[in-house]
Symmetry: C2
Subunit: 354 residues, 2 copies
């Protein structure tokens, strides 16, 4: 069934797959909602975006994304409130960031009106995939890939921008144990660490696998030069609490400018909390842990919102973190989710109603 829309070509699914999904036993990233958006960049411009039923697509084996990792992505979430209204959280920030990532990866920027109109249309068509209730959301994955066939090592002249969505429960429900990196590293000065470039993530899988073999869940990356400063956790920015001060690293060309990170910093400042945005020396954290002054560490990112760290390993020593009754992490998780689910005031206009 096709439908006229001035900006998009829309073909609705003939039969929803919603009934096939076991929402009580969701595995993140395994079930996709009925519709997706794709938009091709050909002959120097983005063509009219297409909304179509989610499904496989045909690619030549020589398309550049397979060979050169010329690809970027974003992560967003849609939330449903008690009145069945669907909300996004700071969607224009995601558009801005994917365009920053794209620039670094030599991918053309994606137009704002295509992005926003596609999101709105997808959320309207698939609103039944957004479930009510704490922890439920529809995870939204915009991404762009190089689709020119051709194995010469240069930027593609064809791209496909897509948005796919999948229902999600809380991404990491349990507190995690992390390794503070001393051997491997995530990104270089002058590199692509600040971009959500596909290759930044694949490059972490092996060191993370090694960490998992030691019983740890994730890695906190340190600077590649000296391994003396905390950077980010690869899929999350990292916050440290020493006594009642909240610390996090400044963004730079190695660290992703996380939207959850930015939101927490804003909320913390609103509350008059002592927030220090400066390089976080590993030694300072170790010393604070030994002195009993390190109260908590938590990760912040769209998929997980906020994840408590229950302990970390450094220099083959494992440090337990205390269980805090007045956890900053849990406090900001609640504050963020109250805004996201339309349960609280939204002083900074972060919510976006579909």
């Amino acid at each position: 069934m096709s439908q006229l829309n001035s900006l998009l070509n829309i073909t609705k699914t003939k039969k929803s797959r919603l009934e096939e999904v076991d929402f009580d036993n969701l595995q993140f990233g395994k079930n996709y909602a009925d519709h997706m958006m794709y938009c091709d960049y050909i002959d120097g411009e983005w063509q009219k975006p297409v909304i179509a039923p989610y499904g496989p697509m045909s690619f030549e084996p020589s398309v550049k994304v397979f060979h050169y990792g010329q690809a970027v992505f974003e992560g967003m979430k849609a939330f449903k409130d008690d009145h069945d209204d669907v909300w996004l959280f700071r969607p224009e920030d995601n558009l801005n960031r994917i365009n920053i990532s794209s620039k670094r990866m030599a991918i053309p920027e994606f137009p704002k009106e295509y992005f926003m109109e596609s999101l709105k249309t997808l959320m309207q068509l698939d609103k039944d995939w957004v479930k009510k209730g704490q922890g439920n959301s529809l995870y939204i994955r915009p991404f762009a890939i190089a689709t020119e066939p051709g194995v010469s090592a240069s930027e593609s002249n064809q791209y496909r921008f897509m948005i796919i969505t999948c229902p999600a429960k809380a991404y990491y429900s349990k507190p995690v144990k992390v390794l503070i990196a001393q051997d491997y590293s995530r990104s270089a000065d002058g590199g692509v660490g600040y971009a959500k470039a596909a290759g930044n993530y694949g490059a972490q899988f092996y060191p993370t696998k090694l960490a998992k073999e030691k019983g740890l869940d994730q890695i906190i990356w340190t600077d590649a030069n000296t391994h003396q400063y905390m950077e980010e956790a690869g899929t999350m920015n990292i916050f440290f609490r020493i006594n009642d001060k909240l610390l996090t690293a400044p963004t730079n060309d190695r660290i992703l400018d996380g939207i959850t990170r930015r939101s927490i910093i804003q909320l913390a400042k609103d509350e008059g909390l002592d927030v220090e945005i400066d390089r976080v020396e590993v030694k300072r954290i170790i010393d604070a842990a030994k002195a009993g002054e390190l109260k908590e560490i938590f990760g912040a990112g769209t998929a997980a919102t906020i994840v408590a760290v229950e302990g970390f390993e450094y220099d083959d020593t494992y440090y337990d973190l205390p269980e805090m009754k007045d956890s900053f992490g849990m406090h900001f998780k609640k504050r963020l989710q109250d805004i996201q689910y339309n349960r609280a005031e939204d002083p900074h206009n972060w919510r976006f109603k579909i």
Copy 2:
């Protein structure tokens, strides 16, 4: 038409596309030979490899290679001698290297017998795509991509290993102008620079585009920490000649262990040349250029074999290199190609006959 083979499932093309290709006006990476190999990793093992007509394949939009760049590749060439025999060059080195790359990218290693048997079969089926004559070759692109559908940021449990091939003339025929990097960088200590990981290449496109806007063709990357030491050119290792000494950087976790590089070092040592494999300080090269002692710079890689550098830019100053009558680069290019095309002795058994 299917054919029995103990190791491979083979389906030959019904109609060759060979006649459609204009071999006098080849654009590298645009025409693919009739057959390709693919082999899926499912349930913890590589399935039986399939040889089939080259063509598009279907992928879900959520496959991990699109999102996380979990992908590696190799570059190889087949050469045809005057007796119509087809030769590969050190093919087991490519297998070893793709398995080193795969390990770093958490991709399972590919079995040697599958690799070698697939190469032999492809070269036999598509031998008419390997053209005789200096500079002609069939470029061979083995690669592996993460094919599990699912946007959670962890290693895939499904992969596809493929080999596609395309006829090639000399990759870079003209001498190139290069920029010595001072802002951007290619890889970090503890990162994936030594692997032929897809994302290493896409990350270079933007800085290279900026260099091209300044009239330069490529970038010689320097160490990300200090930008004081020469590393590699992204698709080539780099050699410097100061008077009659040949210099190149040692391989490390940021620099690809190039097979052409290794072959040149061996040939140079065979000839009793003074070869220094040590960190190459940028300042030393600039000083040598100013003193008239820098005789040449050349890049070495499979696609290009050897490419002469005609000049370089550093600190906004452009340095011309002299035209050498007794160029080391051109000497080793001839020596390598004489071995590759079966025109000379092969003392190290680098040639592999199909």
